[in-house]
Structure formats: C-alpha cells, structure tokens
Symmetry: C2
Subunit: 262 residues, 2 copies
DNA sequence: TGACACCGATGTGTGCTGACATCAAAACTC
DNA sequence: GAGTTTTGATGTCAGCACACATCGGTGTCA
C-alpha cells in the first residue's frame, strides 16, 4: 500500500516566469551580476547580501549561491562571513575567462579589452606560426596554403565577407597548428576581434596588398617548415593590425597591476 | 500572538564532520573532482550522477551542485538533464584558469603544461618588455634597473636563492609594467615555472653571464624607453630559457585542437 | 575616570534536507 | 514508423541548524 504523500507545502506555481528566457535561472543570475560588476555598476568593495540578491533577482537561495560560487571562481567577488558578498578590484578578475572578456567587451571597458586582446595576439601569433612550422600536421599546412591563396582571390575581387571568413579560419588554423592548447584557446577571442574590426568599420575597403602577401608568406613558410620566416611574416601582419586598430583605443587609460611584495 | 512555528524536521546534528579539514566542503569538492578529471581518473565522456557524488564525497546536494557549477564554468563538465554530469574533452577546458593549470601541473600533464606555459612566456615577455618601455611608470623602470644589478651581484656571488627571488620579481615587474592586464595576470604562472625550474634542478649552478647581461639590457632599455631593444633582449632570455627546459618535455605529445568548421 | 581585555549577542555565510518543477531520453502505443 | 506517455535525472524552492567574524557591553585594573 502506498503511504499517503504528505504535502508540506502548496508548491505554488511560481509565477510561471513572465520573462520567459530560454536560459536557466542560474545562467541569468551569473549574467546579471557579472555584467553589473564588470560594467562598473557595482563598484569595487561594494558589499551585497545574499538575501538582497534573492529579492533583486527573484530567485531562491540555491540559484544565488551557485551563481556567487561561479563569480567567486572568476575572481569577481569574495564571500565573507558576517559581512556579505564583496566585489573584488578589477585586477583580481581572471582576464582570460571568456565570460569576463565578453562582459568587458559589452561595457565601458570595451576599448581596453580590445587593446589587451590585440596585444596578446601580436605576442602569440608570431610564436604560434613558428611552432606551427615545426609541429603542424601535413593536412593543416596544406589547408593553410589553400586559404592564403583564396584570401588573395577574395581580396582582389573585393569580396570582403568571404575574405573575413577566410581570415578567421586562417588565424584559427595557425593557432591550432602550434600544438599549444593555450594558443589554440585564443581562437575565440581572435575571431571576436576580427569580426569586430569589420563590423566597426575599422577594416580598409580592400585588404592591403602587403597583408595578402604576408598571409601567403606565413602559409608557405609553415608549409616549408621554416619557423623564423613564418614568425617574421606573422609579426608583420600583427604590426599592421595593431597600427590599424590603435586609434580606437588610444584614449583608454592603462592600468598597472600592483606586483605582490615578496 | 505568535503563530506556533511548525518544526518540519528534527535537524539532526550532522555528524560533526570527522574529517575536520580547514578548507570548506565546497573547496574540497571542487578540488577532488577537478584533480580527478584533469588527472585523467575520470575520462572524457564519463557520466556521473549528482546523487552518486553526494555519497562519494559524503556531502549534501548543495555542495555537490555548487562544485559542479564551478567545474562547469571551467569547461570541465556539462550537465545534461535526464543523463547526469558528463566530463568534457580536454580541449574544452579553460587552459588559462589557475585551477586547471594547477591540476595539470600536479598530474600527468605536468610536462605538457610546463611547455605550454614556457611557450606562452616566450611569446608574451618580449612584447611585454616592449610595451613596458613605452608605458611603465617611472618608479617601476628604476626598480627594474636596480633589480637587474642586484641579480648580477647575486649571480656572481652564487647566491641562487636570492637570485631566484630577484628573477621572479624582475619578470613580474616587466609583465606588470606592460600595462596589459592579461600579461600581468600571467605573473603567477611565470613565478610557478621559475620556481619549478630551480626546484627540479633544471637551473644551471651559476646563471649564465649572458643571461645576466640580457636582464640588464632589458631593464636599461625599458628605462630608456627603447622598446625594440627591450623586446630583442627579452626574446634572447626566452630563447635560452626554452632551450634549457625543452629536454624535460620533449617526449610529451602535442595535441591539436580541432578548428570549428565555419 | 579612563584604557583595555573579555564575553555574549547578533547577523550572515555554510551546509543539510524534503518537496516540487521541468524537461528530454526511453518506453510504449497505435 | 510516428506520436504519446512514462520515467528519471537536473533545476528550483524554502526552511532549518550551525560556524564564526564582528560589534558592543561589561568588568577589571591602573
């Protein structure tokens, strides 16, 4: 016989979520808090109470707590007993986390974030090209050569949409071909900067003839296993890219992270 | 009148936590699962049930769920309704997260992780030095010069402990002085590789005379605002560092992250 | 009277649990 | 085979017990 199920609580239908987002409550909570912290709406040192967040987000403690735990792992907040949830200074944030990058790109820090990413690219891609020349599998080298030729075609024809697609794949293949998983992980961010550059009209009407040649140089050097040539050609691409983009962030102030005392 | 508070449950005293660790249950759970996943004990595609983890870790659902949420944000697992918690392939992990790096360094992936970090350093530090020459605040430039001189002293005197401390601070200052928060965030990882190099006896008895000179070159070039000289000197340091360390990871296989189709 | 150490009250994160809600895989029906 | 129902896992909620840092009061001593 089935014991009668005791119904302790009515289990009200819970408002049926008027804002019928497809995403989960957890996702929404992380997103809400992350954007507000990174965007500066919640300044460094600001203390929140879990209970207050429940009211603000209209969710239960579980959701708030799980979201706070995630933000904690990103370095955005810390929890202190008897005090609350405190917003940490920006230099404690994990600047490599995709979420943090996305939130910065969406807010005031957009310029500074793009500069950081561009500088990171300018550092990494030449070394990635050099490593790819030594390590990349044969099929990848050949695809790279093919793409560099297709880029020239698309560039000469003025087909910028196709050029962008090829450009993205080109740089993704170089990063992947390095055999370094940290480099490969930057593919997403590089893609973001490349698309952003065209979307925001920072791309020249036609790709520079030089840039097309440099891409082919990189591809052929990787194919030939010539690391230093690949590196130098990639460095040239990066220098030109930085030069093109620099005006858009020249006014952004630089922040100097304090070095922990020994 | 106060309504009588209905006591739904006795709330038993909860076993008083025999394993009286100083760390929180949440921390322990994240650590336990993270090390086992990154260490390979839980292979890609392995599916766990939350309830099973409760039993295994002897913790409640809240702790398991919060830990899983954090691991999810690191890209180590995904949760699927009606299926469970699935371990994701390594190329989905966030290779820049300090936790992931630490877990890899602690397990079989140690060699590959050190290579990745060293290659990242070799890419970033020259560019960081170049940027520092243009951006670093005056006080930082001067400290850098002072440290490079002290490094020479310590090196000539054979005081390797002091040399290591100075070396760490030197590279931290260069990264910080770049004014790029992503570069600055690598300070921790660079410190790890530097200490690891000496701890594991991969460091020469006396620092190379050339290396000492290169450090001074970097410092003076940054102080003088000469970016390209700083970059080239830093690149020389990196080349030598890589050459010293390479034997320790030459047998590690490289992994090539698949590039998403367009 | 004033400075300081102690100690209890208070409040907030941490952790545990039962009860649903939801949704997709799997089983079932036609 | 297509559509429907069942099932079983995560998702969410709410209440309680506990640990512990902080604050403020109290007592002691100078």
């Amino acid at each position: 016989m089935m014991p009668a199920r005791i119904r302790l609580r009515t289990g009200r239908p819970r408002a049926t979520m008027l804002t019928s987002m497809s995403t989960s409550l957890h996702h929404r909570a992380v997103e809400h808090l992350g954007t507000r912290i990174v965007g500066g709406a919640l300044p460094t040192g600001h203390v929140m109470l879990a209970e207050h967040l429940e009211d603000e987000l209209k969710v239960s403690r579980s959701v708030v707590r799980e979201a706070v735990r995630v933000l904690q792992s990103l370095g955005l907040v810390e929890t202190i007993k008897r005090v609350g949830i405190r917003v940490l200074p920006a230099h404690r944030w994990n600047p490599f986390d995709p979420l943090v990058i996305r939130w910065r790109l969406a807010g005031d820090g957009r310029g500074a974030q793009l500069r950081s990413l561009a500088e990171l690219r300018s550092a990494v891609e030449p070394v990635a090209a050099e490593l790819a020349a030594g390590n990349a599998p044969e099929s990848l080298r050949q695809e790279l050569v093919g793409i560099s030729l297709a880029m020239k075609e698309a560039g000469d024809a003025g087909d910028m949409a196709r050029f962008l697609d090829l450009d993205i794949r080109f740089h993704a293949l170089v990063l992947s071909g390095s055999g370094n998983e940290m480099f490969a992980n930057l593919i997403g961010q590089v893609t973001e900067t490349l698309t952003g550059r065209t979307v925001h009209g920072l791309m020249p009407e036609h790709p520079q003839k030089q840039a097309l040649q440099w891409h082919m140089d990189v591809a052929h050097a990787i194919d030939a296993g010539d690391g230093s040539v690949a590196r130098d050609a990639a460095a040239k691409i990066m220098r030109q890219t930085i030069a093109e983009l620099a005006p858009s962030w020249n006014d952004q102030p630089r922040v100097f992270v304090p070095v922990a005392k020994n």
